[in-house]
């Protein structure tokens, strides 16, 4: 998605956060679903909360909507304390994972519901519903009941119903999870387009990292009730700060190691698994002897049948397994020093000749700067 003016409000120290989540905790009995979480979301952002199921992301979203009470902490929207405001008085709306369309109302009645509860005049309701149905391309379905339309159409009704009141913030709970893959890709760009057009702040909860990466201005990775990292998709993918983030977002090869020395520019790490010492560029200065993890993304590794030039981390191996995905192939290579390393390679030529096959001896290599040092 191309944005004419990229939204980078979070870099501006003067910018006021639009949604502020401060020390928010939710306990269910002894179980801590959300653990003292802090988060600032800026106006017109498309912010995603990404995490495995049960990480507390939906609970956090429900607390934003007012559907769940806070055990501790505070939520502000546009500078106003929302902590104890009931859901029907909050200036935000939610799109439910199941869409939760009212089965006894038509599409148009579903969309109009929010305005009716605001006691808007009938003429205004009709006009705004017509506009909104136009926006989500559902005008022909206005008089259909929810069980007469497709999953993709239901999703757009749910979106229209949640947007009709022009909420300050739109909360989306797994907005694309119920759609099939092809429709999901299409809808995800449509969603971003609508967000851009209306300038509404979107907060999306998802377990699908591709969805989060493609949609978001920024995203927060969540695990066991806490954020492991908050940043732009590129930030999180290329500079993960801990093992969980690195492992959860995208594929990655992880190797255990121990710090040998660091000088503020490079960190030297002894990696027994790879049977060598690696130099990782980085300003971090972990003490010698600290256990760390080294991580390399599969697409950062070159695979070839001949040895590569020097200056890179290089090793020999044998192809254990390969998966052909059309655009790219994924190799699992048993390296000479032991660990199985995943490598992805783009299939630039149509001919399969020259590509490594099963049981081929191959040479793997990557740039020293591609190695990610993970301290936690």
């Amino acid at each position: 998605m191309e944005r004419p003016e990229p939204n980078t409000a979070w870099l501006d120290p003067e910018a006021k956060p639009f949604v502020r989540i401060m020390g928010v905790t939710k306990r269910f009995g002894d179980f801590v679903a959300v653990d003292a979480v802090d988060l600032d979301i800026y106006k017109a952002e498309l912010f995603s909360i990404l995490g495995p199921s049960g990480c507390g992301k939906s609970t956090l979203l429900r607390m934003l909507a007012g559907l769940e009470t806070l055990t501790a902490g505070r939520i502000e929207i546009d500078g106003i304390d929302m902590t104890d405001v009931p859901p029907y008085e909050r200036p935000l709306n939610m799109m439910f994972q199941s869409y939760a369309l009212f089965p006894h109302m038509t599409v148009a009645q579903n969309v109009a519901y929010g305005l009716k509860k605001d006691r808007r005049p009938g003429g205004e309701i009709r006009q705004r519903v017509a506009e909104m149905l136009e926006l989500v391309k559902l005008t022909p379905c206005a008089d259909a009941k929810p069980d007469q339309i497709s999953g993709g159409q239901s999703q757009r009704v749910a979106l229209a119903r949640a947007l009709i009141k022009r909420p300050k913030v739109l909360l989306l709970d797994e907005p694309l999870a119920a759609l099939d893959k092809k429709l999901r890709e299409h809808t995800q760009f449509e969603l971003a387009g609508i967000q851009d057009q209306l300038g509404v702040t979107f907060v999306v909860v998802t377990h699908d990292q591709e969805e989060a990466m493609a949609l978001s201005t920024r995203l927060a990775v969540m695990n066991e009730g806490r954020f492991t990292q908050i940043g732009t998709p590129a930030d999180i993918y290329e500079h993960p700060r801990n093992r969980f983030t690195a492992d959860f977002v995208g594929k990655i090869n992880l190797f255990e190691g121990v710090v040998v020395a660091s000088d503020g520019e490079n960190v030297r790490v002894r990696c027994d698994a790879l049977d060598r010492e690696l130099t990782v560029p980085g300003e971090a200065r972990p003490p010698a002897g600290q256990p760390v993890a080294l991580a390399v993304r599969p697409e950062k590794i070159f695979i070839a049948k001949q040895p590569e030039e020097n200056g890179r981390v290089a090793m020999r191996g044998v192809v254990l397994d390969l998966g052909y995905f059309g655009g790219l192939s994924l190799y699992r290579v048993k390296s000479e020093c032991g660990p199985v390393i995943e490598v992805s390679a783009q299939n630039r030529q149509r001919a399969a000749r020259g590509r490594p096959e099963w049981d081929d001896e191959v040479y793997l290599s990557w740039e020293a700067s591609s190695t990610i040092l993970l301290v936690d």
Binding site: G66, Y88, A100, L101, P103, K117, K145, D147, Q148, A162
Partner: protein, 309 residues
């Protein structure tokens, strides 16, 4: 079935479809035998004249001496029942009693069903069990128990006298109020169970969505909960109204001598007057009155779009 039978025919007798047919034939056969056949007998009696004989009504086929026969049918019983103000009053009284009992059951049963459906899942079965528990004791016994409670020297009067709230016992038994107490008490579970079934299936996300869109709790109830529980309301009301309309035991035991209910009149007509044809005509008319609301319900159901709750 021999080796010469065509394979298609063989399959129809052995395959699962054949079992399905037998499975369907059983309940239909049962209904035919024990519902339709007795009804036809009642219908036939309602078209006869009472005579002092055994059975006490004129036969349908009159075999004359000259070996010809004629069919004897009369609508006199219906004319009598429909022309008599007392019968009209009885029907109206029964209708009113059944309608009020149904309304009371709905008013009391809806909040109870709602409460059970919203209770923690672990508690729901216990609460449902408590609703069904009275069925474990004979219906007649439970009605007698109410006589003991409501009587002039009964438990309630005794307590009130002992507490000094009243000076002389209240007349509670043998009043219309006692009938309502007995009816609501007896039929409440039939209202709660279908209501619970629809309310329990109601997706909580729908209520949350309505609330999120600005619906206050009362509006959410009116806009979402109530319309989506409509099938449960209809089912519960039918389950209470139909037996309440023909109820005989409760008005007979708890009601006063002036509480004329159709079930009681029918009983008197049959056993005291030994006028079987009039009693049968009464029963047929009662059935007609009861079928009307079911027919209306079916008609509205078929007009709703498919898939709607």
């Amino acid at each position: 079935m021999g080796a010469s039978a065509p394979p298609g025919k063989q399959r129809s007798w052995r395959g699962p479809r054949a079992w399905l047919r037998i499975g369907l034939a059983l309940p239909y056969g049962w209904l035919l035998l024990f519902l339709l056949a007795p009804f036809l007998i009642v219908l036939r009696i309602s078209l006869a004249d009472p005579i002092v004989a055994l059975p006490p009504y004129t036969p349908l086929f009159d075999w004359a001496a000259d070996a010809t026969h004629r069919i004897y049918v009369t609508l006199d019983n219906y004319r009598f029942v429909l022309g008599d103000d007392l019968y009209l009053y009885t029907y109206l009284n029964s209708l009113q009693l059944a309608a009020v009992s149904t309304a009371l059951c709905l008013l009391i049963g809806y909040p109870m069903a709602y409460g059970i459906a919203r209770a923690r899942p672990a508690n729901r079965n216990l609460l449902l069990m408590l609703v069904v528990l009275p069925f474990w004791i004979s219906f007649l016994l439970r009605v007698y128990a109410w006589m003991g409670l409501l009587g002039t020297h009964g438990t309630i009067n005794g307590l009130l006298l002992w507490a000094g709230i009243i000076d002389e016992p209240l007349q509670m038994l043998y009043t219309e109020g006692a009938i309502f107490v007995g009816m609501v008490y007896s039929y409440l579970p039939f209202m709660i169970l279908p209501l619970y079934a629809t309310l329990e299936r109601l997706d909580p996300a729908l209520l949350e969505a309505a609330s999120d869109l600005g619906g206050r709790p009362r509006q959410v109830f009116v806009d979402v909960t109530l319309p989506l529980s409509f099938p449960g309301i209809v089912a519960g009301c039918l389950l209470v109204f139909i037996p309440a309309m023909g109820e005989f035991v409760i008005p007979a035991l708890l009601g006063g001598p002036d509480s004329l209910m159709i079930g009681r009149v029918l009983y008197d007509e049959f056993f005291s007057n030994r006028d079987w044809p009039v009693a049968a005509a009464d029963a047929v008319l009662l059935l007609a009155i009861l079928i009307a609301p079911i027919g209306l319900f079916q008609y509205f159901e078929s007009r709703r779009p498919e898939g709607e709750l």
